[in-house]
Amino acid sequence: MLIVAGLAILALILLGLGGPLHARVPRAALWVYGGAAAASAALLLLGLSALALGGEPAVAALPVGLPWLQAHFRIDALSAFFLVVVNLGGLAASLYGIGYGAHEREPARVLAFFAPFLADMNLVLLADDAFAFLLSWEFMSLSSWLLVVANHRRANNLHAGYVYLVMASAGTFALLLCFGLLAGSEGGYAFETIRAKAPGAGLAALVLVLALLGAGSKAGLVPLHAWLPLAHPAAPSHVSALMSGVMTKVAVYGFVRIAFDLLGEPDWWWGLVVLLLGGLTSVMGVLYALMQHDLKRLLAYHTVENIGIIYIGLGLALAFQAQGFPGIAALGLAAGLLHVLNHSLFKSLLFFGSGAVLVATGERDMEKLGGLIHRMPVTALFFLVGCAAISALPPLNGFVSEWMTFQAILLSPQLSDWTLRFAVPAVGAVLALSAALAATCFVKAFGIVFLGRPRSPEASGAAEADCWQIGSMAALAALCVVVGVVPGLFVDMLGPVAELLVGGRLTPQWGLPWLTLVPVAEARSSYNGLLLLLFIAVSTVIPALAIHRFATRAMRRGAIWDCGTPGADPAAQYTAGSFAQPIRRVFGTTVFRAREHVDMPLPGEVRAARFHVELRDLAWDLFYAPVARGVAAAADRMNHLQFLTIRRYLTLVFAALVLLLGVLAIWR
């Protein structure tokens, strides 16, 4: 099994040659994206079969890497599930890239790193020792960074790349320390060795914090999210989809691997910390998103929100496991991991849609779009499916995972810890709030971009996307519906993962009458997406047919009514900024210190009125600015070290040597 995986990954790495060879080989892009699609499909099938067959995990060791440590690889249920998520996204993005890549200005810069980026993500999932894990992790960061700066001539992209590189290095540094602590002074870096010994309580706490810093910054936990809304939109859209839909999931995998698998039994407060961070992340992510006018940045902030929802599920699982309820922990974990799958589906779909809009109009600014539903009807339909799915509307997939999270929350009065008893309902309220705000945000996104009248000549001259783009969007939209309608199948897929990580069994769902989802007991709660879909379809069609048959089907087109005073200028429409204004007034004045400045000319004065909104990002102000100031101050202090004489330098080197030898002598 691992041989197949290895060959597919090797093929992906070799496909990177498509970049340098691009000018010489005819249709290189088709080969690269087609090859990447084939390799992803192979890895996807591999993950699915590993999940379906179960059995002992496949293990392999390669004689590369550190001299005393081989490179270990392993596929267990957890990595198999994430293989499915990653390669489903990779397959869709590769197919989309065949169409989208044709519009790339400098395709060689993307082609060289696209397939290796996929390979690195797969390697992270398969790694079974700290060295292989960190090496693949770092390569994943670097290849995605190269893709972020692929369009380096566009303003702000270099800044985005710089922030990303700094944050990625800091994250890997935290993970390095984390694995160092796990391995201990003997240097047992293989996950097998780490699993065998349980770290003490203090050490485990430190490891958890470092894992939250390292994997959490990659996933986009607030306040470590600052790089994400800069870097994800800067990349080409199919890479944005991979980064938002898939790479953040690899980061979640890293956290789950460390917190659930390597660290052993959790403490009660771990769940609390993860829950609170998840709640903060989900509500802040959606509030940030509501304030955005840039379509791709709005989607990136929604990734932050959904990562928060995933971490809420993981936090519930940790809390329940620590208090001895493995069954409910399995439910929380399944809710979080199902949201991992769901988010990768609809976020890739939405980024594909935004890419199609970008190709058709050259615009990411929502204030210059509008009316695209007439010019891009198919893209609009699939984007609408994505919007409804991410807003957690039944009967689509986003609702199922949030519903399961709510069910786990409703079981938490069983927890014996008092802090958790106060925290869990509060986090439930925050989750409900962020779900409702997400619906608002996607009414804004779809309404401003696709509905209304075009706000610029580019928007009125847009053309429909090509068949590759539409095909991959259609496949993802169909999967969003399928997961929503037969969720039982996908929950069952998570059964082995839950058993591996928390030791609790999920009730098998497949084969229940009418394909109902019953996570605990039927008297308690059940949900049937299939039946709801049928119900809605029937009750839509019957009245429509009845009215058309028995009343009238007469219809006339006329001028816009708007209470008799339609503004002829499309600028008279509601804009993204004005749509978000009520939310900005309710939440923004405290969360973002929003200030509105209106400059209204006096009567008779001939100049334009101006309106300006000032928002402050408190995460930058409170978290990053002090760090940046500290670094700058330290650099200033150390500046004079560059201008010493050779004598002084030799003294310094000697002193450092003596100091290190002294430390070593005391340590041993």
């Binding site: 509008g370 009316g371 539903i373 807003s391 509307l393 039944p394 519903w403 709510f406 069910q407 929350i409 409703l410 009065p413 008893r421 309902p425 439930g428 309220a429 409900a432 709030l433 779900a435 409702a436 619906a439 608002t440 996607f442 009414v443 804004k444 309404g447 509905l451 209304g452 009248r453 009418w514 308690r524 709660s525 059940s526 039946l531 709801l532 119900f535 809605i536 009750s539 839509t540 009245p543 429509a544 009215i547 009343a551 009238t552 007469a554 219809m555 087109r557 006329g558 001028a559 816009i560 009514w561 708007d562 209470c563 429409q573 509601y574 004005s578 749509f579 009520p582 939310i583 309710v586």
Partner: protein
């Protein structure tokens, strides 16, 4: 055979909510008019309005898309399915397990999502202002509603509405502070969601504070009829929900005879009438709020819901 009976009862429930919804709206209008010293229209007027609208030609703006034309049917369907999932005259209907209380709240959210999108379709200032404010109100009302749902389901140990209603009929409920808080919160949410005074005024057009009416301004003919019917269904749904949870008396349970079904239907009609009269009386006795006072009003509902929930979490197994 049992399956056929179950299906018939479920179908009767769907037909019943659809048939009674305009009447409830008519009763509320009539009682309001009488309280204000007017004669008021017949309670059957909403039926006549709907019939007239369905027969009229629909006028669409030149740039209205397919979304604009299909949204009324989708909104109506979402509302109808949600209303059909709420036990009215009997509990334990055959499809009641297809969606629990959380799913009902989310179905209402779906209907609202499409209505708000339809408001933005033509690209007018009024449509935009309506959608934007509707979503602002909803993004506060929906979490409040979910908190209330959580409170109810923790008390009854289930999110299934049938189970909750049966539990509430039983002896072990008693008077609980949490349930009182949930009732107040639910009434506040119901007022906001149905665009009633003090949040919005269903009787006005062309007022700067209007929300719901601004959103559907471009609709006419059969499309407007569907939206009006959906609004009537929503009012009925909330009254039924409050009745089903806080006044479940007289409801027939599954597989009792036709006699108990008839008694249940009578009891249900009485509850609807009482709900309509109370709503009309409340609306005539209070003034409309400014739109940016609404978040505070809904914030109260959210806090009440959360307080009820935390009380339950804390007092459980003491």
């Amino acid at each position: 055979m049992a399956l056929i009976v179950d299906l018939v009862v479920q179908g009767a429930q769907m037909a019943l909510v659809l048939a009674l919804a305009p009447l409830l709206t008519g009763v509320v209008r009539l009682v309001k008019a009488r309280l204000m010293g007017r004669r008021g229209p017949s309670p059957l007027q909403p039926y006549r309005d709907l019939l007239r609208l369905t027969r009229k030609e629909a006028v669409l703006a030149e740039n209205a898309s397919w979304l604009f034309r299909s949204a009324p049917y989708l909104v109506f369907a979402g509302m109808w399915v949600a209303a059909a999932l709420i036990p009215t005259f009997a509990t334990g209907l055959i499809f009641s397990w297809a969606g629990d209380l959380i799913a009902i709240v989310a179905l209402l959210g779906s209907a609202r999502f499409f209505l708000a999108l339809a408001g933005m379709d033509v690209g007018t200032a009024f449509g935009g202002i309506g959608s934007s404010r509707e979503m602002m109100i909803a993004s506060l009302a929906e979490p409040a509603m979910l908190m209330i749902v959580f409170t109810l389901s923790l008390v009854a140990g289930s999110t299934q509405l049938s189970t909750v209603a049966e539990f509430m009929q039983g002896p072990e409920v008693g008077l609980r502070v949490s349930l009182g808080l949930a009732l107040v919160g639910l009434v506040v949410v119901a007022l906001a969601e149905n665009a009633r005074i003090p949040v919005d005024n269903p009787a006005t057009h062309l007022e700067l504070t209007m929300v719901h009416e601004a959103m559907v301004l471009e609709y006419s003919g059969r499309h407007l009829a569907m939206i009006e019917a959906a609004a009537a269904l929503k009012l009925l749904l909330y009254v039924s929900l409050i009745a089903c949870v806080f006044a479940p008396w007289g409801m027939a349970s599954a597989a009792e005879g036709p006699a108990s079904y008839a008694a249940g239907a009578l009891a249900y009609a009485g509850k609807l009438l009482a709900g309509g009269v109370l709503l009309a009386a409340f609306e005539t006795s209070i003034a409309k709020m400014r739109v940016f006072r609404v978040p505070e009003f809904l914030g109260v509902a959210l806090m009440l819901g959360l307080l009820g929930l935390v009380l339950l979490f804390v007092t459980r197994s003491l």
